[in-house]
């Protein structure tokens, strides 16, 4: 759940989508600036955090990169419960992954937080020759369902930061945030306190 400490917002974000759509690749591009051609499949879910500055506020994303494997589907609520945002990822060269993305959207609409910011990412946009899902089709679908849509490429980094920034901008708490009040350090002090206490 997005929670604001003045202009610092912690936002839980979950990535959902079919096996091989590129969820992990998107996250790794966003968080670490890395890309590997043959990303191993995710087990369960991997946790990342990354902070972005939007306007005059700071959003700390707590990102859950979930596994697309079928055996983990029933466990997805564990990861998207309480999420402020979701990115539903499909592979533009794979129609089945787009169908799967629609199912995730349905599930989130039925189960998730109604204020959740949802983004639809058509990943692998560098594979133009292999395109199976037209961007107009996805755009239309996104509009009908209240998502925002971007075609991304973790490989070339196209639109990767953009999609996270766009989410950060749309987070409800941020829009409602009152006037900026002084300077705030990020989460560091809390972490230090933790570290100190365990040395005893």
């Amino acid at each position: 759940m997005a929670s604001s400490g003045n202009k610092n917002i912690n936002a839980k974000l979950v990535l959902l989508g079919d096996v091989g759509a590129g969820k992990s690749s998107l996250v790794l591009r966003f968080v670490k600036g890395q890309f590997v051609e043959f990303q191993e499949s995710t087990i369960g879910a991997a946790f990342f955090s990354q902070t972005v500055a939007v306007n005059d506020a700071t959003v700390k994303f707590e990102i859950w990169d979930t596994a697309g494997q079928e055996r983990y589907h029933s466990l997805a609520p564990m990861y998207y419960r309480g999420a402020a945002a979701a990115i539903i990822v499909y592979d533009i060269s794979n129609q089945a992954s787009f169908d799967r993305a629609k199912k995730w959207v349905q599930e989130l609409q039925a189960q998730g937080n109604p204020n959740m910011v949802m983004a639809l990412a058509g990943n692998k946009s560098d594979l133009l020759d292999a395109r199976k899902v037209e961007s107009e089709e996805a755009q239309t679908y996104a509009q009908e369902n209240g998502l925002f849509f971007l075609e991304t490429s973790a490989k070339t980094a196209a639109n990767v930061n953009e999609i996270f920034y766009e989410i950060a901008k749309r987070l409800p708490r941020l829009q409602q945030t009152p006037n900026p009040s002084g300077m705030v350090l990020v989460d560091r002090p809390a972490e230090r306190a933790n570290t100190a206490s365990c040395c005893s």
Binding site: G44, E70, M78
Partner: protein, 547 residues
Amino acid sequence: MSSRSPTTTLDDEEEALEEEAESPVQLNAINGSFSEEIVAEGDDDFVEDQHFESNSKAESSGVNEEISYTWRNVPEIDEVERPLSPGSSGYAGEMGSTSGGDEINDDDEDNSDIREVEFDGVSGSQSQWVSGKRHADEDDASVSWRKRKKHFFILSHSGKPIYSRYGDEHKLAGFSATLQAIISFVENGGDRVNLVRAGKHQVVFLVKGPIYLVCISCTEEPYESLKGQLELLHGQMILILTKSVNRCFEKNPKFDMTSLLGGTDAVFSSLIHSFSWNPATFLHAYSCLPLACATRQAAASILQDVAGSGVLFALLMCKHKVISLVSAQKASLHPDDILLLSNFIMSSESFRTSESFSPICLPRYNPMAFLYAYVHYFDIDTYLILLTTSSDAFYHLKDCRIRIESVLLNSNVLSEVQRSLVDGGMHIEDLLVEPTSRAGAVSSHLGQPRPGVSAPGRMADGFVGGIGGPAGLWHFIYRSIYLDQYVSSEFSSPINSLRQQKRLYRAYQKLYSSMHDKGIGPHKTQFRRDENYGRSFLFYPVALRMN
């Protein structure tokens, strides 16, 4: 053949396996220096010619006590070696000395007639080795597929393929159906098929409810070993899916399980690989990374702190070796679960990218339910596993990890771990030359992981007294029944090549199996001679009981 008196080595120890290897030339010299001499010419099969019945080992039995079908008309031939040209094998020279054998790259395919198989052995690192399924293009019509020395299959009771070590499961549908037909044919007669021998091949069957597991092997491993490997393979599947997957078959007998195991080829192939180098797979014991007592205590105490707060099991591991292990309540972690869990984590690259929170099932702890595993790598080899029953515990476990990490850093545990990894385990030479300085390392190694149970440095003392010189003891494995742990020496100079190491491994495997055979009983000392490459290996399993 020569022997040293067992009493000179491992006094007061519960059970030990050791072996000695020497060339014939050295053999004579050694014969002179020891009192006993046993001639066992042409008795290569002494150990392995035992009849295989249900394994009496406590951990692995109790599941099935069926009578095995053993068609043993063909006398056992000791593992026949094909001519090896060292340069072509892909094994030569790549091996450092490590008892862990992460670098042992190929396993049962010491089969020089398939070059591409050996190509797999060239890669020096585990990450290169574990690349999921190999030879996926093959099927049962391929000549190369038929020549593989060891196949593993998992199929459903309706004959649908679930996993095959080699080849594409879907292309092997016909073959799977054949296996299923054999199993159900015997079952229809009110019986159960355990083992079929066909020439050099053994076909081992294991039925686990709606899941059938089959191994086809010409590696001359004992039936018990192969069956144990199938049990582990099944355990690995349970770890990923829990046993409740059986319900899918109740609803739909033709259920296709392959999709549920998507992305886990590397997990299974790495487990199968470990059958050929990791003694934990047949000893049902785990091994610890050698560390100074204080270092391990520092790790144990912070894990203990954490375990009080809703963590069921906390494990700090370095590769496949345990640094420290703590469990809450009275729960205990079975060594097989440790093996399967660490295999699962190490073979899944995904755990290395970040901290993870995943459902996993410990088949020996509770095969029906998922636990949740928080996994975090501190460095490339060292990782922390925190297991909990609560699916909401991630942030708590993350905090625990931060506390643990800072303690480990402040007390230099992680750097000590790295140093231990570089130093390797116990070296026979060091034991001989500097018994006192090593003795401390040995005892802290054995004494720590389970507080309250101690195994003081008797073992080291035993070596000091019993070894007649650098050529005496060449390698050993010691397994403690009380601790569920084993320790082995590093491979040292006589056992240089990967091939020799593997032969030694196989010999231990056979020995272990025969020692736990009802026909022999655990107290009997055995001798085994194994002549290959102009080298004789002598094995002394020693089972001593402490009063």
